[in-house]
């Protein structure tokens, strides 16, 4: 199978280039990550992040034939050759397929991604009905792979000011939690021309999310809450 892979090692390369690889695959090689591991056995200098190899840790996000996805759950059989692999767009490249995710996590941290409830905790669990719990479905499953935010033009232009779909999905995860008491502070934190409102609902995030989540819908719900509190 043929691959064209983005290469850049600041230690020795003046600028990035695309390298061709032709690898013989085994019948057990099902996913793109399997092929990348074969390539790495031949050329140990190819650098990428990977860990769980089942789509739950979010390490191996990359741009695959023009679309962001996770290498470990992208089927080789579905890929057009040569398979063109690039680092996630919009973030600084550290080396090869490895990007600097500082800005992405900074935005995630900026939404205060933790439960706020200043009541003294009860002896037992805080009660939550199954219906209230269901509000968190489609939100808590985010793996922070950054496929969505790095597919979003608003995030490309303003990664320092726009929270981005991943961060906003998590902002809504806590707004939606019946146990959380910080709704108004959370909305204040997003009431800004950039942080929330740079989302123009083009839905690139929904299109690429490897977990099938829908940040655009969550962003819409945050906007609804803003409107509700304004009236």
């Amino acid at each position: 199978m043929r691959f064209k892979i983005y290469r850049y090692d600041p230690d020795k390369d003046a600028k990035p280039y695309m390298q061709d690889y032709d690898v013989e695959l085994q019948p057990s090689d099902r996913m793109l990550l399997d092929a990348l591991i074969r390539i790495k056995a031949i050329d140990d200098s190819l650098s990428l992040r990977r860990s769980c190899r089942e789509g739950v840790c979010g390490s191996d996000a990359m741009n695959i034939n023009g679309k962001n996805g996770l290498a470990c759950i992208t089927r080789l059989a579905d890929l057009k050759q040569p398979v063109e692999l690039r680092p996630l767009p919009g973030l600084p490249v550290i080396r090869d397929l490895i990007v600097d995710m500082t800005q992405f996590f900074k935005q995630y941290h900026s939404v205060k991604p933790y439960l706020v409830n200043n009541e003294p905790p009860p002896e037992r669990e805080r009660l939550q009905s199954p219906a209230e719990r269901e509000e968190l479905d489609g939100l808590y499953e985010c793996i922070l792979c950054a496929c969505c935010s790095t597919a979003c033009p608003s995030f490309w232009w303003n990664p320092d000011k726009f929270v981005g779909p991943a961060g906003l999905l998590q902002a809504y995860r806590f707004l939606a939690d019946s146990r959380d008491e910080a709704t108004s502070e959370r909305l204040d934190n997003l009431e800004d021309p950039y942080r929330l409102f740079r989302c123009h609902s083009i839905m690139n995030c929904v299109d690429v999310c490897p977990k099938g989540l829908n940040p655009t819908r969550a962003i819409g719900k945050i906007k609804d809450l803003m409107v509700k509190r304004a009236v």
């Binding site: 090692d9 600041p10 230690d11 020795k12 057990s28 099902r30 790495k40 056995a41 140990d44 200098s45 650098s47 990428l48 992040r49 990977r50 860990s51 769980c52 190899r53 089942e54 789509g55 739950v56 840790c57 979010g58 390490s59 759950i73 089927r75 550290i94 080396r95 090869d96 490895i98 995710m101 996590f105 941290h109 205060k112 991604p113 933790y114 439960l115 409830n117 905790p121 002896e123 037992r124 669990e125 805080r126 009660l127 939550q128 009905s129 199954p130 209230e132 719990r133 968190l136 808590y140 499953e141 793996i143 922070l144 806590f174 939690d177 146990r179 959380d180």
Partner: protein, 588 residues
Amino acid sequence: MAIPVRKFDAVIVGAGGAGMRASLQLAEAGFKVAVLSKVFPTRSHTVAAQGGIGAALGNMGEDSWMWHMYDTIKGSDWLGDQDTIEFLCREAPKVVIELEHFGMPFDRNADGTVYQRPFGGHMQNFGAGPSVQRSCCAADRTGHAMLHTLYQRNVRANTLFFVEWMALDLVRDASGQVLGVIAMEMETGEVSILHARAVLFATGGAGRIYSASTNAFINTGDGLGMAARAGIPLEDMEFWQFHPTGVAGAGILITEAVRGEGGYLLNKNGERFMERYAPNAKDLASRDVVSRAMATEIKEGRGCGPDGDYLLLKLDHLGVDLIEAKLPGIREIAKKFANVDPVKDPIPVVPTCHYQMGGIPTNYRGEVVAPQSGNPEALVTGFYAAGECACASVHGANRLGTNSLTDLLVFGKASGDTMIGFLKENPGHKDLPRDAADRTSMRLARLDGQQRGESVHEVGAEMRRIMQAHCGVFRFPDMLIEGVKKIKETAERAQRTEIRDKSKVFNTARVEALELDNLIEVAVATLVSAEARKESRGAHDRADHHQRDDANWLKHSLWYKQGSRLDYKPVHMKPLTVPTIEPKVRTY
């Protein structure tokens, strides 16, 4: 060249469930704690845990921590230490409730309490049965939900994370006290000494020593390798859990929650064979029992598929609604990795290496212990371990499903608390030995300078083949003896690994070579300990000694790297407050 030194109150290596539960204690108590992780914290392998956290909350019916304790001891085949197991089961409800308060999105019952599902080996009435619903879960993504919740709580506590830093070696002084770690920042390749008053290892398991493993690539036993090189023994390394249901060929985990929710295993005749092996618990017997039954079915020609090398996990009868509500992740995995939609078709599964019961010896306070002057439990001052890298020993010869996450929370928190006590009593940093980083520098220089050496990829593959063939579900004396010889030869080869990539920047070839240094220690420890243990107990099943032998083998193995030597120490048969649970025949 002088190596930069940074000072902290405490250093934690590993940002999975145990590391982040411990860091939370320390950070919230105001200590300067550095948490090192090879990966961004939410990518740690805790994220892959599926089925739940065991705790006797009693939300679904009567339950008791004492029943949980009995099940854990029976599950351990009486190799578990009864004091640490009592501590685990008593503390479990508290740490689960705390996790809920931290924001964990647990599934709920109609009355708003945390939903709990059945799991293998968890019974009512001190093992008499029937099964009890004890596993607190978030669908089949419990580990993911827990790891993210702990990370989020650490963000709130301003914990200092060193992301993509790999610890390379432990620093001990002449008295044996632990004073820090040598670590490498992966992005720059720079090596530093992190000087601390207390060090916790929470580095996870080493399931990557086997070819067929549910474990992530990062599970390379780094803490075990570092401890072994620093002269600390590894306990009970012959005990590895083979999870009954890994996707055949792919190794991806299919949670026991599938059977907890009502799924069951079939052989090629469509027979529900677990009824023959465990008439009461059936598919919810302990994992070692189910895996052995499956391996027997395959060996005796009742496996499925053209090569008769797997079995089928049927769950379509549960209905699409239940599967979507309780097992959505499993449906996703089965579709992607097995090409089947479990709503219609059974999933091909096979026992797959999953969990390391052994590890760095600790007590129930999370302190690392090693024999010294006749005391088998002497403290290694300043050193703590928690989670899969530690051997407390709560899992003994076989871990019960759900107890791994319980272990992370209980002993993560306990070790954090113990460290706080130690830090308060020992305010100053002891001086680093002059040669603190010498051994590590030599190892790195050897790797970078190696010519005409061995390929990391090939030596690693050979190690995994040996472990798979010589130390699997069933163990044979001649294969074990041959395995010891082969793995020692492979360990020799591992000392001559060569990397072609010499870059300083995010050199993953170097990282993989350093990981192999750790894996190979674990592989040798496993085979040497397994060959020596002449009995069958829990996950260690020998063809030539088919029975458990309490008269000779009710004891923990301790493997030392120096000379690949074995020693033994007694099992703690006395719990903290309740009477001993006396060994008896283990049936399900």
